[in-house]
Each structure stands twice: as structure tokens, then as C-alpha cells.
């Protein structure tokens, strides 16, 4: 049996391409507007689909009549999503879908569909648990350690109520696809985080083999966890194409529908009691939490966050409300857990009059052992970068003027182990190199990372690598979710590149008068280790590949057997520095510090961009974002971008990112980065506001009304 080649990463100091701040490979296409997203596909004879949605939060369809719409000129296909008798559980539910030659015609036709409803009782708000009635379901009590003993030993007890409402992903490209059903073949251009499995998800309901479904996506306009499967509208789009005699159909949700039904982050609220010693050591946690992920209800965030070994008693109540179902959002349940935990800890610190950094560090004994030292280091590093010692003042002691400055903490943890991935590296006799993976680049820099790994391994510049991704005809990858992509694709690319090199070395060795195992690929050459004079250029070496032949090798990442290329377990600490005007309630971010570990970093430029982006998204959430519902009508009041506010370029202050790339982190291998820095921002901002104004604003977002209510002691 042949020996397994050594796949391990080159040592830090020997890397030539990995670790470089290579510019995003698809940057020119994106910055010139030539990147074609699935929503930009305009195949010949394209039809446009419009969905007619239900305006009620809870209703039964008692009649539906599509005849007027079907008779309209230019209407090519009509599909009824919710036939007579369907019980609808949320506003925005698809009732019927029309495909027509123009978008406006399709909209006119949808308006002509007559639907009658029996309107049923609804609940659309979950913040007041007492009003939830039968919509609330207690999940029972959970206990770890001996919280009763902990509270008996406590010298101080703090209590507080905290919460985070539902927020929308607001992917700039809405959910949808272009589908073209011709003969027995379906071509789909979706907006998806999962190119590899999209066909398999479409297949059962369309009764079409997955092998007859071609999926292609070059670019995606945001996903953040909300765009995995094809969704019901993806199936309907394909059905409409078939019904219309095989004309391609474009169905991308309009902004309002996207806001209503294409996912959101579940809410979480909790009343938390913390007990501990006057020296900052926590002894017990008790929490009563509740929240909702829409109609299916919610699940408890992991509490106490990170400090999971703190003796605790907790219960959670799931509330089912008449809204669409929540979806994964960049670190599901972790932003919530970090907020609830970090706010409770800072309230305890304020109660005993201690610097919260000291309290956090004092309690790292309750965190996973492998990360305790990392957090201790990161708290100190973040404090140094935020000038904490100079700027932090005890809560409410922030000067006499109306504008109060405050600092606050948040922390994060995430797995980020790479997913299963298959990469094929093909070396041609002319020296050109093709890398193929059926993955997708969400804007995280996946293309760039794969290219760098192949270039590093083959001893070539990134410009020598031709990469294809974004098609289910390529070797299968997996969904880009949970920060799993970078580990998966970097490992499979590394292995495929090494495997290809082994073959190339075998072809080249006789010409160099050496054994294959004595060769190395460096700086565009294949040479004999230790004898730099014995060398061939890359192109000359590839000429040794027999004429008409190629070297084409696979590399496989298996999550169950990750090897030493990738790992799980990222950690980070963040500090918000805010100013709050106590007369207007306006909160401004002065500075935000993020210290983040993610193992071996393939491209620091893109890694920093991930952290900047995560922090900015979090600041937006912390300051502005909330899905607002009206219990009277059951309607969402801000299914748009005017009143569902997102942070702009001047709303986010200065952001300082510090990647924790100490050698002990680097040697762990590649760890995903999309989620971890997106956790902890709501916590840090809420804590900074509390530190500034002296009282806790219970719920995110930190809007002026929430701040002024808290200052005046009002609860709503």
C-alpha cells in the first residue's frame, strides 16, 4: 500500500501564498458590475413570476378564483399554492403564483386572482409571555450542578430582564431562482448557500431525478443562513416553467414578501438571577427564558453562554406566533445567548462594584477548559485596544453632561469545523492548472482561499490557478453554513493538490535524476530538495505528463476524520465604546474592538473583512433592527427597508479588529470565521449603554424610545 502523503500545512514561516493579503479573486467582477448573480440571469423568452400572498396572519382560504388572471393576455401559467380549505398561519403565505411575459403583467394578473378568507384569531407578539396563553409551551426545567447551594453561598445576588426581538436577514438579493424546464431537463440558477444539494432538495416534489437538474450559481447576494433549500417558491418556479411550455421563469421574492416569509432570527427574552461572591466569583445562575421562532415556536439559547459549568437552574418557554418560521442566522441562538449571559454578568459586576473584565476572567473556570487561557488573553488584549483602563468608569459615573460615554463587553464561541468537501485538481501538459469544487462563495472569499491553498501547495502564483465553483456538475461540496466552508474547501484543496503533485513528481523524477519523494514544488519550479541546481520550471515539468494526458487527482475532506488541517472551536472578546445622549436617547458607537481567534488564517485581509462585516451587522442589530408587528391586524409594520432600519456607513463608528494569530492558534489548523465575530455585539453594546447611563435598557435594539423608557423607569 502506498504511503499517505503528508498533507499538513507548511510551517508558518515557510508559507508563501497562505497568510498573504491576496486581493479577492472575484473583486474585479464585483466592482465592475459584471458579476452576474442568479437574479441577473436573463435567458431568452424569460417569463416573470409574481406571488399573490395572504394579507392575514391566520386565516382559512374559503374560495380562490384564478380564471380572470388566466384569461389575461401575456399570462403564461398560474399555480395555486393554497387551494380552498388551506389554513394559513402567517401573513405573506403564498396563495397563488403567476408567470407572465412582463413583471407588471404578472403583478396585474396576481391582483385579479380573487381569494376569500375566513379570518381566524392570531397572536403575533411574544414579548409579553403572560399574553401568549395557549401559544406558550413550557419546555420544562433543566439543572446543572447545585444552584441552590450556590445561591446559599452567594454574598450578592443580581437580577435583570433582557431580550432581543426578531430580526430580518435582509439579504440584498432576495430569495428566488430562475428555472428553465425543457424536455426532461431542469436548469436552475438559484440564490443558495448550498449548490451541491439544491437539486436533491428540488427533486422529490418535482418527481425529476436529481441528475436531471442542473444547478448553477456564480454569485449570491447575501444569505447569512437564510438560503439553503429551494423553498416552496423554488419548486413553484420550476412548475411554472413546465406549465408555460418550457419557457424560463424568474421568481425572486419582492422585498415585502422576502421580509415576511424568508426567515428571521428568533427572539429570546429572559429573567436572570445571578449569585456570587464579593470577589466576583459566580456561584449560581437561575433563568426563566422565552422566545419565538415564529409559528413553529422557539428553542432555548445555550445558557449560561460559554460559562456552561456554572451551577444553574433554567427553564424555557416556546411561544408559537402567527409569523413565518425563523431560519438560521449567522450563529443561530448565539447572539441571543451571549446577550443574555453577558448582560447578567455585567449587572452582577455593577452590583458588587467590580470591573466586569475582572468578573469575566474570575469565572473562566466555568468555560471549556481548552479555551480558558484564550479568553483570558483576549479580555486583556481587547481591554488594551479599547483603552479600557483609562476610559472605563463604574456604571453611572460617566460625568455631568447630557452625553454619557460607556464601555461594555461581549464574548463569543463557535465550532466552525470544516464540512465534507471534494476537490479535483487537474494539471495539464501545457502547465495550466484547473481546480474544481462544487462549492459557493457567499462573499466570504471562498474563491480566494481555495486559489491560495492550491497555489501554495503547487508552488505557483495565484494567477496560475483556474478555479471553477458554483455548479452541481463539479465535485460535491456541502452547504456554506455554520462557518464550515473554509475548513472544508481548504482541506480538500490541499489534499487534491498534494495528490496531484505526487503524480507530477513521479513523472518528473527520472528527468531530474532523483526519487519522486526528494522533489519539491517551489516558486514555479520542481526541484530536488537540497540541490537547487537540479530544477525544472513548472511548465517544463508538466511537459513530462504524457502527451494528451492529464494528472487529475481528488482531495476529500471527511468531517469524521478531519486530520490536522482543520479544527473546531473559535473564541473572541469584544468591547463596545458608546456615547448616549440622555436627553434624546440617541446611542452612537465611538469605537468597537473585536479580538478573534480562528486558527490558521489563510488570508488575513479577507479574515479581517469577515470580522468587520460581522461587527457591523451586529451593530446594526444592536442599534436599529426589529421586526415590528401589530397585534390588532396581525400585520408586520416594517416589511421593507425604510422602516426596517439597517446601519449605514456613518452609523458604525471606528472598528478595531485584532486577529489572534498566535502560533498556538495557528497550529490547530483552519477554523471557520463567518459566525464567531457576529456573536457578542448586542451584548457589548447593551452593556456599554448600561455603563454609560447607569440603568439597563432591557431590550435590543438600543433605539431612543427604549433608552428613554429605561431612563424614566418605564417598562414599555
Amino acid at each position: 500500500m502506498a504511503n499517505t502523503p503528508d498533507y499538513s500545512w507548511p510551517p508558518m514561516e515557510a508559507r508563501k501564498v497562505i497568510g498573504q493579503r491576496v486581493k479577492r479573486m472575484d473583486g474585479p467582477a464585483k466592482a465592475s458590475g459584471r458579476a452576474r448573480y442568479s437574479s441577473d440571469q436573463n435567458p431568452k423568452d424569460l417569463l416573470f413570476a409574481i406571488i399573490k400572498t395572504c394579507p392575514y396572519a391566520h386565516a382559512r382560504v374559503t374560495d380562490i378564483d384564478t380564471s380572470a388572471a388566466e384569461k389575461m393576455n401575456g399570462v403564461m401559467a398560474v399555480h395555486i399554492n393554497a387551494p380552498k380549505g388551506t389554513e394559513i398561519q402567517w401573513q405573506g403565505t403564498e396563495v397563488a403564483t403567476v408567470a407572465a411575459t412582463t413583471e407588471d403583467l404578472a403583478r396585474d394578473a396576481a391582483a385579479k386572482i380573487k381569494v376569500e378568507y375566513e379570518v381566524l384569531p392570531h397572536l403575533v407578539k411574544e414579548e409579553d409571555l403572560a399574553a401568549a396563553g395557549s401559544h406558550a409551551k413550557a419546555a420544562g426545567e433543566r439543572m446543572q450542578g447545585d444552584p441552590d447551594k450556590g445561591f446559599q453561598e452567594a454574598e450578592a445576588v443580581s437580577e435583570g430582564t433582557y431580550g432581543i426581538p426578531m430580526q430580518s436577514h435582509v439579504c440584498l438579493e432576495t430569495h428566488g431562482e430562475v428555472a428553465y424546464w425543457h424536455g426532461d431537463q431542469l436548469d436552475v440558477w438559484p440564490s443558495t448557500q448550498d449548490v451541491t444539494r439544491y437539486a436533491g432538495s428540488l427533486s422529490p416534489n418535482l418527481k425529476l431525478p436529481a441528475t436531471s437538474i442542473k444547478v448553477e450559481m456564480d454569485y449570491i447576494g447575501g444569505g447569512f443562513g437564510s438560503k439553503f433549500g429551494p423553498d416552496a417558491w423554488g419548486e413553484v418556479c420550476a412548475i411554472l416553467s413546465k406549465k408555460a411550455g418550457g419557457r424560463p421563469v424568474k421568481l425572486f421574492l419582492d422585498r415585502k414578501t422576502d421580509q415576511l416569509i424568508a426567515g428571521f432570527r428568533p427572539s429570546a427574552f429572559a429573567h436572570i438571577k445571578l449569585g456570587g461572591k464579593k470577589d466576583g466569583t459566580l456561584t449560581a445562575w437561575e433563568s426563566k427564558a422565552w422566545g419565538s421562532g415564529g409559528f413553529p415556536g422557539g428553542g432555548s439559547p445555550p445558557l449560561p453562554y460559554i460559562l456552561a459549568d456554572l451551577p444553574n437552574r433554567q427553564n424555557y418557554t416556546s411561544v408559537s406566533v402567527n409569523t413565518a418560521a425563523s431560519r438560521a442566522w449567522r450563529a443561530p441562538n448565539n447572539q441571543q445567548a451571549s446577550l443574555l449571559t453577558c448582560c447578567a454578568i455585567e449587572d452582577f459586576a455593577a452590583k458588587i462594584g467590580m470591573d466586569p473584565i475582572e468578573v469575566f476572567k474570575k469565572n473562566l473556570q466555568y468555560a471549556p477548559k481548552a479555551r480558558q487561557e484564550t479568553y483570558a488573553y483576549q479580555f486583556d488584549k481587547a481591554a488594551e485596544l479599547a483603552d479600557w483602563k483609562k476610559l472605563w468608569k463604574p456604571r453611572g459615573q460617566n460625568g455631568p453632561g447630557p452625553v454619557k460615554r460607556g464601555l461594555g463587553l461581549g464574548f463569543n464561541a463557535w465550532g466552525g469545523m470544516g464540512h465534507n468537501s471534494n476537490c479535483r485538481v487537474t494539471l495539464h501538459a501545457d502547465g495550466s492548472v484547473q481546480v474544481d469544487i462544487g462549492t459557493q462563495d457567499l462573499g466570504t472569499g471562498t474563491r480566494t482561499v481555495i486559489t491560495q491553498v492550491a497555489a501554495e501547495t503547487l508552488g505557483l502564483p495565484v494567477s496560475a490557478i483556474k478555479l471553477s465553483i458554483g455548479s452541481n456538475a463539479l465535485p460535491p461540496d456541502a452547504a456554506s453554513g455554520g462557518s464550515t466552508t473554509v475548513g472544508g474547501v481548504s482541506s480538500s484543496t490541499r489534499k487534491a493538490s498534494v495528490n496531484a503533485l505526487v503524480k507530477l513528481f513521479a513523472a518528473v523524477a527520472p528527468a531530474l535524476g532523483a526519487q519522486p519523494e526528494d522533489l519539491e514544488a517551489v516558486d514555479g519550479h520542481i526541484r530536488v530538495k537540497g540541490s537547487p541546481a537540479k530544477t525544472l520550471t513548472w511548465v517544463a515539468a508538466c511537459k513530462k505528463i504524457p502527451a494528451g494526458g492529464v494528472i487529475s487527482e481528488m482531495g476529500v475532506t471527511d468531517q469524521r476524520n478531519p486530520g490536522n488541517l482543520m479544527a473546531a472551536g473559535a473564541a473572541g472578546v469584544q468591547i463596545a465604546d458608546v456615547s448616549v445622549d440622555i436627553e434624546t436617547g440617541v446611542v452612537k458607537i465611538n469605537r468597537y474592538v473585536a479580538v478573534q481567534d480562528c486558527g490558521l488564517i489563510i488570508n488575513p485581509r479577507l479574515a479581517e473583512s469577515q470580522v468587520y462585516g460581522a461587527v457591523i451587522m451586529g451593530i446594526s442589530t444592536a442599534l436599529f433592527e426589529q421586526r415590528v408587528f401589530d397585534q390588532q391586524t396581525g400585520a408586520m409594520l416594517n416589511p421593507d427597508m425604510e422602516f426596517y432600519k439597517l446601519a449605514g456607513i456613518d452609523d458604525v463608528g471606528e472598528i478595531i479588529v485584532h486577529m489572534d494569530i498566535r502560533p498556538e492558534n495557528d497550529k490547530r489548523g483552519v477554523i471557520g470565521l463567518g459566525e464567531p465575530p457576529a456573536i457578542g455585539i448586542c451584548a457589548a453594546v447593551s452593556n456599554a449603554v448600561a455603563n454609560a447611563i447607569g440603568v439597563r435598557v432591557p431590550n435590543i435594539p438600543m433605539t431612543p424610545d427604549h433608552v428613554l423608557n429605561a431612563l424614566e423607569g418605564r417598562t414599555a
Binding site: 473583486g27 466592482a31 459584471r34 407588471d104 391582483a111 376569500e116 468587520y612 457591523i616 456607513i649 456613518d650
Partner: protein, 215 residues
């Protein structure tokens, strides 16, 4: 929470309003604070001849080329470009004039293409991101975006590039605060604002941008 039988009235929309109504109503109030559209809003054309509701033959001047097309009067410039002319750089995101992803230049001023009717764009000089540089070449602003990683998913990027172009044409050497103000009418969801700030400042320093308005 009452139960009642109620037929939906198709013409009535609960929380939205028609695009045309919005465009009429947005006026100066809606344009202020974005740094965009101000002149466009005050320069609304006087009542002209009545056309429609069916398709109308119009011609548009986009990136120096005359484009003849048939559009219903209700069709926006954005939809006409994207759906009929295959100019897909400008993106439809909010469709309500708040996010800036569809930003183009009209007679040298930045406008939201979702807020301009195609028929009203006749006789105006329209510049889109496709017209900034030949395929395979990068305009200095686009290059600065690349250099500073002012893009992630990239869906907002063309709008930001055009907003930056409009800003730099008017204000070749902006301060950081002026950049923040000038780009406040655009939204990025991936959070590329740090790179964007640097990119626009770098583009302002680039020789080609400094050399001429249409660089």
C-alpha cells in the same frame, strides 16, 4: 382577536403603496438626508402629453448609446434596464428608494433608478456601472474598491461605485466625513463600510480620477 369572513380587496394594499405614488410623494423630504436626488426632485417635469397605459416607444441614452425600447409608462428606469436591456449591474433591492443598490448617474447626478420612470429618463444622459470601463478593465473607483476589499457578496457594490463616482465628480477631494455623508444613501448588508471609506478616499487620490470628470 375576532373571527370574521372577509373577502380581500385586491386593489387595497395594507402596508405598501404604489411605486408611482411613492415617486410622486417622495418629494424633497424623502430625498433629503440621502445626499442624493435633491436636484432631481425639485426639477420634476411639468405636465406633458399623456401616454399609456399600454407600452410606449421610447429611446434612452445609456452609456453614450441610444437604446430604443417599448415600455409601459409605469416601468421604472431600473426595470427597463434590467429586464429589457440586460444591464444588470444596477440591482433591485428595496425597490423604494432607500438602499441605493440601483444608483446610476442621470445628467451627472446620482439617482435611484428604481425611483425614476423610464419614460422620464428620455433625453437625459444616463451612466451605469457598465459604462465606467471596457470589459476586462477597471475604472479607478472600481480598482480602489478591489484594493480595499470594499465588497463581500458584492450585490450593493455597483450602487456604491456609482454613488462614489457621483460624489467624486462633484467633490474631487472629499474628507472622510464628506465620504460618509456622500455614501449615506446606500446600504451594505455584509458590512463593508470600513473598506468603502478607504476605497473612496483612495479613488479620490488616483490620477485618472483627478485628471477629469469622466475619468
Amino acid at each position: 382577536m375576532s373571527s370574521k369572513k372577509d373577502a380581500e380587496r385586491p386593489e387595497q394594499r395594507k402596508t405598501s403603496f404604489s411605486r408611482r405614488g411613492f415617486i410622486r410623494g417622495v418629494g424633497i423630504g424623502g430625498a433629503l438626508g440621502t445626499g442624493l436626488l435633491e436636484r432631481e426632485a425639485t426639477a420634476a417635469p411639468a405636465a406633458g402629453k399623456i401616454v399609456g397605459p399600454g407600452p410606449v416607444a421610447i429611446s434612452l441614452t445609456i452609456n453614450g448609446k441610444t437604446q430604443n425600447l417599448n415600455v409601459e409608462p409605469r416601468v421604472t428606469l431600473l426595470d427597463a434596464m434590467r429586464n429589457q436591456l440586460d444591464l444588470t449591474g444596477a440591482k433591485r433591492v428595496c425597490d423604494r428608494g432607500v438602499c441605493g443598490s440601483c444608483t446610476v448617474l442621470m445628467d451627472g447626478k446620482t439617482v435611484y433608478a428604481c425611483n425614476v420612470l423610464a419614460i422620464d429618463a428620455q433625453g437625459r444622459k444616463i451612466e451605469t456601472i457598465e459604462g465606467l470601463a471596457e470589459p476586462g478593465k477597471l475604472h479607478p473607483i472600481s480598482a480602489a474598491f478591489w484594493n480595499n476589499d470594499a465588497q463581500q457578496c458584492g450585490y450593493c457594490t455597483p450602487g456604491f461605485v456609482m454613488a462614489a463616482k457621483g460624489l467624486l465628480d462633484e467633490m474631487p477631494n472629499p474628507t472622510l466625513d464628506q465620504v460618509k455623508h456622500g455614501l449615506a444613501g446606500n446600504i451594505c448588508r455584509c458590512g463593508t463600510y470600513m473598506g468603502l471609506r478607504k476605497a473612496v478616499l483612495e479613488a479620490a487620490r488616483s490620477p485618472r480620477q483627478q485628471g477629469g470628470k469622466n475619468g
